[in-house]
Symmetry: C2
Subunit: 353 residues, 2 copies
């Protein structure tokens, strides 16, 4: 029996509702498989934990997580309790950085059964590879003076290593897919970091002569995600640009509520982390209507990472079939509850076995 040790952090808001659903799905898959098991260890680290302990996770939180095969995260943040930059940097971004999860991968594809807001969603199917450890998300910076003279300075830090790592990841992925990489830049307006980004892209692409490339400024690219998403295969972007593009990816699928993400530690030294793109949505927490599909699709990405690609594929197909049957939550035009959607997926997995 192969056992995967998974650290589970449901986090805040609807994270606490959708994570248990995804765990049930994973357990169902383990049963079906027969030869594997998941061991889930739950950590109640969230904004309420912060209120009680003054920090988002214990002092030795990182060491505690270190030994797991993967981290399965719900959503973090509840600005009513803790300012977002405190909660996120104390948990989500802290884990991303401490565990060198330098790559964030987020797929977006057209799903039958989802109401895309686009007239012609066609069959888009792309993956955004987001640099996940540096760039515009940096603690470097500060303020000077006060009142009407106050100035805030924010430093974005782009290293050759970090930039190249994200790009190579994208090119490698494109080789397994449709052989096309699009780079998100803004070198016409942002004159230090983005020309550097472009230069590195030019250098890296030389090593992948069989991969076609394109480069667009982020403003145009954001627009193209709306007007012609079918043209993209792999898109590589900085931390901030990747963040924005993947939410647009969620939007054109029909809902940010279904999009998954993987935070990958590429050198294998530390566990990777899997979390949906959606936030904690404290406003709908507790109503039983949160969409579990984002978290469940996230489980599929974790399965892929753990080497259980076939199980992951099965899950994706079942998820798509259930959506196509119209069993979905209100945010994507259905009437089902969180639990009903999960049960439909579980039932179908069992029937299809």
């Amino acid at each position: 029996m192969k056992t995967f040790d998974i650290a589970v952090i449901p986090g805040d808001g609807i994270g606490k509702e959708v994570v248990p659903e995804a765990l049930s799905v994973l357990n169902t898959l383990a049963e079906i498989h027969g030869g594997l098991a998941f061991q889930f260890t739950q950590f109640p680290w969230n904004c309420e934990y912060y209120i009680e302990h003054g920090q988002m996770m214990p002092e030795d939180g990182i060491q505690i997580l270190q030994g797991f095969d993967a981290i399965f995260l719900g959503a973090v943040g509840n600005p009513q309790l803790v300012p977002d930059h405190v909660s996120l940097w104390g948990l989500l971004i802290k884990i991303r950085r401490e565990f060198e999860q330098s790559i964030n991968i987020r797929p977006a594809r057209y799903f039958e059964g989802l109401q895309s807001p686009l007239v012609h969603p066609k069959a888009f199917d792309f993956i955004v590879v987001r640099e996940n450890s540096e760039g515009e998300y940096s603690e470097v910076g500060g303020r000077i003076h006060k009142d009407e003279d106050e100035i805030a300075i924010q430093n974005a830090v782009f290293t050759r290593k970090g930039t190249e790592r994200a790009m190579r990841y994208a090119f490698d992925l494109a080789r397994e897919r449709n052989g096309h990489v699009t780079s998100a830049t803004k070198s016409n307006g942002i004159v230090h970091s983005m020309p550097f980004w472009d230069e590195v892209f030019q250098k890296v692409k030389v090593d992948y002569p069989e991969v076609k490339t394109a480069s667009y400024h982020i403003d145009a690219l954001a627009a193209y995600f709306v007007t012609r998403p079918e043209q993209f295969d792999v898109v590589v972007a900085s931390n901030l640009f990747g963040d924005i593009l993947t939410d647009i990816g969620g939007a054109i699928m029909g809902s940010i509520g279904i999009a998954p993400a993987a935070n990958i530690n590429v050198n294998g030294k530390y566990p990777s982390m899997f979390e949906p793109v959606h936030g904690s949505a404290p406003d709908i927490y507790g109503k039983g209507i949160a969409n579990p599909v984002g978290q469940i699709w996230t489980a599929k990405m974790m399965l892929d990472h753990l080497g259980e690609v076939e199980l992951g594929q099965k899950l994706l197909e079942v998820m798509e079939a259930v959506l196509a049957d119209g069993i979905k939550t209100v945010d994507i035009g259905g009437i089902a509850t969180t639990k009903e959607v999960t049960q439909a997926i579980i039932q179908r997995l069992k029937n299809d076995k």
Copy 2:
């Protein structure tokens, strides 16, 4: 006879095709009005000029423009000839900064006759107020080390003055419109500039108790522009976020090719500048198929600024009627040429007189 002295910079690519069209439209409006005239002075400052002179405009370019009532710009940039950051910072961004055009205003609205890519474009009608003089677009920063150790640092600089100015502009505008301001932030990920942005927003809004407000992170907001654009009235954003949001605004209208922009000098010391949101599109230059509507709508924004609000309104109505009649360029699903669209607008202005 009231005469407006307008500096005209067609710029690169399709700028050179659509600017003359917009000038014809302005001349037609002047004729119809009877009591006013435009005096256009053309400046051939663009990437070809750079090739010849080593700079995008002459040494005294800024002084030359100083005396005009307004600047009417086409589009800048031709990366085949000059790297974008050189051409843009040497002309477009230079003028924005030298003339303290600290506010960029860009409307987006649903137009009958345009094919929005959205299934339910509904009647969205919003304006993005973009901080236009600082923020993420800054020359502060640089590089250290080389090859695999190279690092690029980009500083974003947010001043209280600049931030507050953009926000007050947005609140003032909202008072004349539907009384709602949305702030674009990213304080969960970007921990120096964006919490500062949020604080200033909280302070400024106290002075506008009758205006309702909302604040969303840029990733979510970009997605909402696609999924529920009808919910926005005035959106205030930093330089980069405003840039991205307005391209999405263009996309949901049906084309970036129709969106206009005003670069406003709020203290009245220097001329303001008017330019479409679209780029110079060197790839379609010379084919006679560029969409002139963005440049013509830009002329309407210039008319508003010059105090000719009624003429501007007439132009907008005629523009909309011509689009509704299906007289449009290929990029928005029509078959008309650049000149045919312009002529249709001019003819209708004359007939409606």
